[in-house]
């Protein structure tokens, strides 16, 4: 009788653990306000250790997005980046550039998929459309950026949004 009850206690603890593991993955979905039934979590660099991160690399530019989801209903990849702050003044340029870079690299990794970007803040999520001109301009900036990091001095201190027109999510033009 004792052995049976002890076994039941251990089984109950195991079931509880298994259930909470599933809810941890759903935590990543809820962070991005996505339905876990519709969107499959392919990889994450956030705390969910059960799903590994996905390393994206193209033309010497690389990194791991916070989360990559796949739509179960249509061929669509969603690149998610979480920012540990409130939305307040809106999307920062560097946050937008980061998502555009990941989206551009993901489009090469999943050529038959549509790729969307999603920025999550503590109080809001913002969808990001891909801009091929901005992506190319960022790639073209790579040698200059590497040299700037090496020397400690930017050869051209003009920010990208003053070299070309950049529209932040929501259509607002960066000034």
């Amino acid at each position: 009788m004792d052995a049976l009850l002890i076994g039941l206690i251990l089984l109950f603890a195991g079931v509880l653990y298994w259930l909470s593991k599933g809810s941890s993955q759903r935590g990543v979905h809820s962070n991005f306000k996505l339905d876990s039934g519709r969107y499959k979590l392919l990889g994450t660099d956030l705390g969910a250790q059960e799903v590994g991160s996905i390393f994206l690399s193209y033309a010497g530019v690389n990194g791991k997005p916070d989360a990559i989801f796949e739509d179960r209903k249509k061929p669509c990849i969603i690149i998610g980046e979480h920012k540990a702050r409130k939305y307040k003044a809106g999307v920062r340029l560097r946050e937008y550039y980061q998502v555009v870079l990941y989206m551009g690299i993901a489009r090469r990794k999943w050529p038959s998929h549509d790729v969307k970007g999603l920025l999550s803040f503590d109080d809001k999520v913002v969808w990001v459309d891909f801009d091929s001109h901005v992506f190319q301009a960022l790639l073209d900036l790579k040698p200059e950026a590497i040299e700037g990091l090496r020397s400690g001095k930017a050869s051209n201190p003009t920010p990208l949004h003053r070299r070309m027109s950049v529209r932040l999510p929501g259509g607002k033009r960066a000034a």
Binding site: L10, N31, G47, Y102, K142, A145, G148, L149, L160
Partner: protein, 70 residues
């Protein structure tokens, strides 16, 4: 030594936003404290529960049961 030819997405994004500032910081975080807080918050999202916690709780439950029924 061959100079490096790769760059991380985040550093390239920071550079595009403010080339002079990131170059001067040599790619390091502008605010180390804020970066550490952000890292902690990132790691907390969707974190799986500790196995150790469940093992400890199960052992405690077994011990309580044995103590009550002895």
């Amino acid at each position: 030594m061959k100079p490096r030819q790769t760059i991380s997405v985040s550093k390239l994004a920071f550079y595009a936003e403010d080339p002079a500032r990131l170059s001067a910081a040599r790619g390091k975080a502008y605010n180390a404290k804020a970066a550490a807080i952000g890292e902690t918050k990132h790691n907390a999202i969707g974190r799986a529960p500790s196995k150790l916690l469940y093992v400890a709780a199960a052992i405690a439950a077994v011990l309580v049961y044995l103590w009550v029924t002895r």
